[in-house]
Structure formats: structure tokens, C-alpha cells
């Protein structure tokens, strides 16, 4: 299974990068989201996969008696997801605002700050 997840991680990164290379603002953000998902999945995978044993101590017990999934990557990914939400929502609103002001989705029309030397 790890192999398949690795393949997905590869796909997410490849897809994210590909989208980042398009000319559309919209696609750029999709690309960033895909990359973010890829990174999250990567961290999750590197904590090792454990099936069906969430890191929750059962009622009545004080410690784990069974195997359990590594909680650390889960907490990290959770944090990263929430942070990612903040950043992505800002980015999404940014493109809306850009559109409101500049009326385009084409990144190539948005290089005036670089143009004049």
C-alpha cells in the first residue's frame, strides 16, 4: 500500500507543479493546493501506516495495549491543514480581488511590477 501512496504523493506533486506552471491564476492556486495535499500525505505516510487503530486510548485503560497509529504525524498534518486553510483562503480571495481590480485571470497580464526596468 505504501507504494501506492507514494505514487499518489508523486502524482500530487507532479500535478501541483504542472498547474503552477499554467498561465491562469485559478490553476495556480489549484496547483498550490495539490502540492499542499501532497506534502500532508507525505508526512502522514512517513509516520508509518497502521490500519484501524486510531491513537485513542480505550475507555478503562490507561495506556495502549494494542498497536496504535503514530499520533505525531497526525497532529502535524492537522496543524498543517489548518494553516494551509488560512493561507489558501487568503490566496483564493486574492485572486478574486485581482480579478475585481484588473479584470483578468491571465497571469501574463500581471507583470507590470517586473516590466519597467
Amino acid at each position: 500500500m505504501e507504494i501506492l501512496l507514494v505514487v499518489i504523493i508523486g502524482f500530487l506533486h507532479a500535478g501541483g507543479l504542472y498547474m503552477l506552471l499554467r498561465r491562469s491564476m485559478f490553476k495556480m492556486i489549484i496547483g498550490l493546493i495539490l502540492l499542499g495535499n501532497g506534502a500532508n500525505l507525505l508526512i502522514f505516510l512517513l509516520g508509518r501506516l497502521v490500519k484501524g487503530n486510531p491513537p485513542v486510548i480505550e475507555d478503562g485503560l490507561k495506556v495502549f495495549t494494542d498497536i496504535y497509529a503514530d499520533p505525531v504525524p497526525q497532529a502535524l498534518v492537522l496543524t498543517a491543514i489548518v494553516i494551509g486553510f488560512g493561507l489558501q483562503s487568503f490566496a483564493i480571495i486574492l485572486i478574486k480581488r485581482v480579478y475585481n481590480v484588473l479584470n483578468t485571470d491571465d497571469l501574463d497580464e500581471l507583470n507590470s511590477t517586473d516590466e519597467e526596468i
Binding site: A14, L21, R22, P55, V82, S89, I92, I95, N111
Partner: protein
């Protein structure tokens, strides 16, 4: 001693604050400062004569070995006296020359800052502090050249001068540091002890090369000389003070100072002789092709500097002595000539030597000063210039095989310089006064006394060399050459080859002066050679550099976001690939890999198809829904692999993101397809390479065994110590609660940002202050 150096700086700092109410009255007080310093240094004459050198030490940056140690010996004393002495005269001269000028206070500020820096350069025993003062002279020079800042040409010249001397300074800095690395100290006194080690080290060539660049740029040696004529845009006192008498001699000072330390090697000598010779001849020729008095003087100054480098390069006792005398002689007569030029300019409004004549009628004292200076420059007997010229010829004649050619060059230079000197010092004061200069009249004594004084000094020292022989020239000679030979300055050496050469110089010079008339036509002839002039070559070079800069900047900073991303990720990909395939042994350990359930395979397949779908669809909404499916499938993995918290959070947040997208999309313009097939192919290739690399790396990292110490600790203590059962939540609010606390701030800021993005709308058409 520190006070002596710092005084000028303090004064410079105070000037702008006091100027307002003392503008007129104070202008005569200014010269008192250099005068005071002059007298102070004069007081050291005896001591130096008897003790050779005096050291002063003040701590500054001990951990770098940089301190404010000052070393007063013959050479530095000579310079200190020149700086303060000529400084006094220039300060006084300025009081009248720029009388009533709006920014006179600033001018004095710069001048005193310069004076202090220059004193610092010649007095420092520590190379680094010497360099610091060195750079300060460049900066003060920049401000002084650009003093008439309304004039674009002034600004350009200031920039050119600063660029060249600044560049040289930076190169020299490397040289000084290298010297420290090899010699182990910045202290000149200490370095003298390891002179042999330095000369024998591998870095010796580098050291002197780097030092030379510094010295040559500062002292306007070929091919860096051209900033100096440009610097003549500065007011005449500046030209006098900085660009003939003192600052440009800093390079000479440096070479002289380093002679005992680094000199007397084939590289040292031959480089200096070559560069000096080229400079002196090249500039001397140029000087007779000018009509602007300042231009003539500028080139003759360059030539004189060339002579000095040449003499130091020869490196024999005789030549070093010659250099020592010539430093003083040149300072005296050239400063006088500049001051005179200033007076002429001031009174007639012209510096065109082809037109100027007959001014002796209105300003006799100036004429006398001019005559004396010109004669000293020409090296006529009874003037200091004569002695220096004699010693110089003696030096060149001692050189065996090279004697003939070097002497010939020296004589040629001297002949041309004689003409230049006469044009500047004599021509304006002979013949009939043209009607256009009728308004010229006798200037204020503040203007004419300084050059006259200098002229008489040339005469006095020339007639009675014993005045300065023991007290000044002997210590100078000792400190340059490092030898304890006793020198003797004589007016009369008897009939010998040297005298013959002197006569030859004077006669041919005199003839040339009579037959060659300064005219614009002469300059135009030189224009043909402009193409190959160093200035032109360097300017073309810098234009080329500019084009390169434009190319480079446009190439990288091209405005296209995707190109930026490509560059960055191509770099990363190459870096990773290089290390991965070079250093990592790639294998798959199937033992560690778990089996695949068919339903997982379905989810994987769904996810991959959705990714491809999201990428390839041209409808934005479809892409977003596909993104939703990707997130959804992702959540399923989280559920299968025991991360319910994660699944819940990810799913809520994915949905909120999709929702935001939806709301944004309501008003986005129609989607267009922009990229060509080739571009898509290129991008796909790069993306896939990147994805594959990340995947391989992930797998390799996965297979490395790692410690589970931390997560085990978390799990073991979650209930016992942290009183929670859901370990993920315990991590979030307790073990790593700090992360969460900050993370909430991220959300808050993002929300505030979104709010302001949507609500704050400053008028985009108006400029914003």
C-alpha cells in the same frame, strides 16, 4: 595625535550646525584649524630628526587587530605638513574664492573632513585604519567634486571618480586582508618584521597586484587616470588641494610606504616602472594638447604622479630620494599653479590658455607666483624643481642596461611638462591683455598670497636646500628606503651628464614653448585616438556591462510567474536528482510494505483519475469539484489508516475551501486555454520528473528505520500525565500546544486579511503617498 586626526571630523560635523549665524564672520576662522595642525606637526620636526619615528596607540577594534595606531616618521610627517600647510592656504583662499556662496559651510565641512581623512591615511600605522581613512578621502572627494551639484557634468564626474577610486579601494581592501592573512597583522610596524615571509609567500603576487590597483586608481595611473581630468569640475580649491597636492598622492604615499615591506622584487619594480613610465609620457603628451588651464594642469599632474610611481619603481636609493624631493616640489608648484588658475578663472571668467595673456598688468603678485611655479616645474636652477629633476636623472642614469631608454623617457616627459608648466604659469602673464579681459582686476590678498607663498617656498627650498635636507628630506628618505645612508642635496653637481640632460630639457622645452601654440585644433587631433583611449575602452566596457546587466535581469526577472517556478523547481529537481542518484542506494524493502486491499486500490485509482481530471479539465467548476473528490479520497486514506481527527478536519476544511472557490468563481472571467502543446509537454516533463523524484525520495526515507521514542512517550503519558485519551488532541492542546496557539494566530491574520482584501478599496487610479 588622535585628537589631531579627529579634530577635522569633529569640525566637519559641527559646521552645518553653526553656519547659520556665523556664515560671514567665521569664514576667516576656518583656516586657523589647519594652521593649528600645521604648527602642531611642525613641532615634531626635531623629534623625528633625532628619533626617526614616533608611535601612538589607541584601541579600537582589538579583536580584529584594528586599532588607531599612528606612526609619525619622515614620510608621514612630510605628508602631514603638506596636508595641513597647503590646507591652511587653501582654506584661506577659499574664504575669498567662494565668498558668499550659499553652501560655503558645507564646503568647509567637506574640506575639513577630507583633511582629517588624509591625515589619517598618512599617519596610520594600522593598515586597516589606513584603509578606512583612505575610503573617507574618496568619499570627501566625491562630495567636493559634486559640489556644484546643479551641473550634470559635475555629478557625472563625481560618480566616475568615486567609482574608480572606490573600485580600487575595494580591491586594495582584499589586498590588505590578504597581507594580514599572510603576515599575521594589520600593523605596519609588525609587518615590517615579516617582510621576507611575505615576499616569499605564494600570495605575494596577489598582494602587490591588489595593492597596485588601489594605488593606481587613487593616484590616477594609466589606465585609470581619466577620472582626474573629470574631477576638475570641482571648485579650484578642491583641485588644488585634493587633486594635485594631497589626495592623489595617497597612492604614491602607499607605494612609498610599502617599498621597505614589499618592494625590491622584480615584480614590484618592473610593474611600477612600466606603469609609471607609460603614465608619465602618456599624460605629458596629453597635457600639451589641452587649452583649458585646468585640463593642462590635470594631465601634468597625472604625468607627475607617473614620474613618482616610476621613481619608486626604480627603487634605488637615488630614485627614492628623487621621489621624496619631487613629492614636495610638485606639491608646492602644482598647488600654486592651480591656485593661480583659480584666480584667473575668478577674475576673467576664462581658463582658455589660447586666449589668456597680459594679466601681469593687473595682477603682478600672481604673475610672480606663476613665474616661480612654472620655473620650478620646469626645473630651472635655484628652484626646488631643479634639485628633484637632477636627482631623478641621476637615478635613471644609474640603471645600466635600461638607463638609456628610461632616461630618455624621463627627459621627454620633463620637456613636455615644461611646456605645460609654462603655459599655465607664464603664458597668461605675458603679452598684451586682450580687451575681453579688461574687467579683470587685482584680486584680494586672500587669493594671491597663498600661491605667492608657495612660489617663494619653491624658490627658498631650491636656493637653500639645507633648510630641508636634514630636517625633512633625510627622514623621508630613511622611511622610504629603509636605509640609513646620509643624503646631501646640492644645487651644483659640476659639469656632468646630468647637467647636460638638464640643459637639453630646458632648451628643447623652451623651444617647444615658443613654437607650439595652444589651440583647439590640437585637441581635435587627439580625438582620432579617442577610440582607443582607456577612458573610452572602460566606458564601452561599462556599457557592455550594462547590456549584460539588462540581459541577465530580463532573463531571470522576466515577469512570468511560471518561469520563476520553473527556474526554482528545475534547480531543486537537479539538486535532488544529483544527490539522489549520486549518494543514495535506491532499493525497495518489500518486508516493510503492507499489502493492498482492493477497496484501497479503488480509492487510489479514483484519486489519481481525479487529479488528472482536475488538471486537464478546462472548466473551473469541474476542476474544483474534482479537487473536492481528491480531498475526499484523501480523507478515506486517513480513515483507513487510523486518523479520524485528521479525516474530520481535512474534510471540513476541504469543503470550506471548495466553497470559497465557488463563491469566488461566481464572477471570474471565462476560462481560456493559453499554453501551446510544446509548452504543455515541457511542463509535463518537468512536473513528472519532480513528482517521480519526490516519490522515490519518500519511499527511501520511509524505508530508513527511525526512532519512535517521541510518539511512544506521547502515547504512554497521554492519560497518565496529560489526562486525555485521544493522543492526537493531547498533542494538539498539550504536548505541542504551542504550535496550536500560534496556528490560531495564522487563522486570525488570514481572516483579517481576507476582510481587508474584500472591504478596503483605496482608489487605485490615484497615486498613494
Amino acid at each position: 595625535m588622535l585628537v589631531a586626526v579627529v579634530l577635522g571630523f569633529i569640525f566637519a560635523l559641527l559646521v552645518p550646525f553653526f553656519s547659520r549665524f556665523t556664515k560671514r564672520a567665521i569664514s576667516l576662522v576656518y583656516p586657523l584649524i589647519p594652521l593649528f595642525l600645521f604648527l602642531y606637526f611642525l613641532g615634531f620636526l626635531e623629534k623625528i630628526k633625532s628619533e626617526g619615528q614616533i608611535l601612538f596607540h589607541y584601541n579600537w577594534v582589538p579583536s580584529l587587530g584594528i586599532d588607531l595606531s599612528f606612526r609619525l616618521d619622515g614620510l608621514s610627517l612630510l605628508f602631514a605638513l603638506m596636508i595641513t600647510g597647503i590646507g591652511t592656504l587653501v582654506f584661506a583662499y577659499t574664504a575669498n574664492y567662494l565668498k558668499g556662496h550659499q553652501y560655503l559651510d558645507r564646503f568647509y565641512g567637506y574640506l575639513s573632513m577630507f583633511m582629517a581623512s588624509m591625515l589619517g591615511v598618512v599617519l596610520s600605522d594600522n593598515l586597516m585604519s589606513m584603509f578606512i581613512f583612505w575610503e573617507l578621502t574618496s568619499i570627501s572627494s566625491y562630495f567636493l567634486i559634486g559640489f556644484n551639484n546643479d551641473d550634470p557634468a559635475s555629478r557625472k564626474s563625481a560618480l566616475t571618480a568615486l567609482s574608480i577610486t572606490g573600485f580600487g579601494g575595494l580591491v586594495m581592501l582584499s589586498g590588505i586582508i590578504l597581507l594580514q592573512v599572510v603576515g599575521g597583522s594589520y600593523s605596519f610596524t609588525e609587518l615590517l618584521n615579516s617582510s621576507e615571509i611575505i615576499k616569499n609567500s605564494n600570495s605575494y603576487g596577489w598582494i602587490i597586484a591588489l595593492m597596485f590597483v588601489g594605488a593606481f586608481t587613487k593616484s590616477a595611473q594609466f589606465p585609470f587616470h581619466f577620472w582626474l581630468p573629470g574631477a576638475m569640475k570641482a571648485p579650484t580649491p578642491v583641485s588644488t588641494y585634493l587633486h594635485s597636492a594631497t589626495m592623489v598622492k595617497a597612492g604614491i604615499y602607499l607605494l612609498a610606504r610599502f617599498t621597505p615591506l614589499l618592494g625590491d622584487t622584480i615584480w614590484w619594480n618592473s610593474t611600477l616602472v612600466t606603469v609609471g613610465a607609460i603614465t608619465m609620457v602618456y599624460a605629458a603628451i596629453h597635457s600639451v594638447f589641452r587649452v583649458d588651464l585646468k585640463g593642462i594642469l590635470a594631465y601634468s599632474t597625472i604625468s607627475a604622479l607617473g614620474i613618482l610611481v616610476f621613481l619608486i619603481g626604480i627603487g634605488t636609493e637615488k630614485s627614492l630620494l628623487a621621489a621624496g624631493i619631487f613629492i614636495l616640489a610638485h606639491a608646492l608648484y602644482k598647488a600654486a599653479l592651480f591656485l593661480i588658475t583659480g584666480i584667473i578663472d575668478h577674475e576673467t571668467g576664462s581658463r582658455d590658455v589660447s586666449k589668456l595673456a597680459g594679466l601681469q598688468k593687473v595682477m603682478m603678485p600672481v604673475a610672480i607666483a606663476g613665474f616661480l611655479a612654472a620655473l620650478s616645474s620646469a626645473g630651472l636652477p635655484f628652484l626646488l624643481g631643479f634639485i628633484s629633476k637632477e636627482v631623478m636623472y641621476e637615478a635613471t642614469l644609474q640603471l645600466g642596461n635600461w638607463a638609456l631608454i628610461l632616461t630618455a623617457l624621463a627627459v621627454l616627459t620633463k620637456i613636455l611638462l615644461l611646456v605645460a608648466g609654462f603655459w599655465a604659469g607664464i603664458k597668461p602673464f605675458t603679452g598684451n591683455l586682450p580687451s575681453e579681459f579688461n574687467k579683470a582686476h587685482m584680486p584680494s590678498p586672500l587669493l594671491w598670497v597663498p600661491p605667492l607663498l608657495l612660489g617663494f617656498l619653491s624658490l627658498g627650498f631650491g636656493m637653500f636646500p639645507f633648510f630641508i635636507q636634514e630636517s625633512l628630506i633625510q627622514p623621508v628618505f630613511s622611511s622610504i628606503s629603509g636605509s640609513d645612508t646620509t643624503i646631501e642635496l646640492k644645487l651644483w653637481h659640476g659639469f656632468n651628464l646630468v647637467l647636460l640632460l638638464s640643459v637639453l630639457t630646458l632648451v628643447s622645452g623652451g623651444l617647444l614653448y615658443f613654437f607650439l601654440k595652444p589651440s583647439k585644433a590640437l585637441i581635435e587631433k587627439t580625438f582620432k585616438f579617442e577610440v582607443i583611449s582607456p577612458q573610452n575602452i572602460i566606458e564601452n566596457g561599462s556599457n557592455l556591462f550594462g547590456s549584460f546587466a539588462r540581459f541577465w535581469t530580463r532573463f531571470f526577472q522576466n515577469g512570468y510567474l511560471r518561469n520563476y517556478v520553473i527556474t526554482i523547481l528545475a534547480f531543486l529537481t537537479l539538486l535532488m536528482a544529483y544527490r539522489l542518484f549520486g549518494e543514495v542506494n535506491i532499493y525497495i524493502d518489500w518486508e516493510q510494505i503492507s499489502t493492498v486491499s482492493y477497496y484501497e486500490a479503488i480509492v487510489v485509482l479514483m484519486m489519481i483519475i481525479s487529479i488528472i481530471f482536475a488538471i486537464s479539465t478546462n472548466s473551473r467548476t469541474t476542476a474544483i469539484v474534482a479537487l473536492g473528490v481528491v480531498g475526499f479520497a484523501n480523507c478515506l486514506f486517513f480513515i483507513f489508516y487510523s486518523a479520524p481527527d485528521l479525516a474530520m478536519t481535512q474534510f471540513s476544511i476541504d469543503t470550506l475551501t471548495v466553497l470559497l472557490f465557488m463563491l469566488v468563481l461566481v464572477k471570474l472571467p471565462k476560462n481560456k486555454s493559453f499554453s501551446s502543446k510544446g509548452m504543455k509537454f515541457r511542463d509535463a516533463f518537468l512536473s513528472l520528473t519532480f513528482g517521480v523524484l519526490i516519490a522515490i525520495l519518500t519511499l527511501e526515507v520511509f524505508e530508513e528505520p527511525s526512532s519512535s521514542e517521541v510518539s511512544k512517550y506521547f502515547a504512554d503519558n497521554a492519560y497518565l500525565l496529560a489526562k486525555g485519551r485521544n493522543v492526537v488532541n493531547v498533542i494538539l492542546v498539550d504536548y505541542r500546544g504551542f504550535d496550536t496557539m500560534i496556528e490560531t494566530v495564522v487563522l486570525v491574520i488570514a481572516a483579517a486579511g481576507v476582510f481587508s482584501l474584500m472591504k478596503l478599496d483605496l482608489n487605485p487610479s490615484k497615486k498613494d503617498l
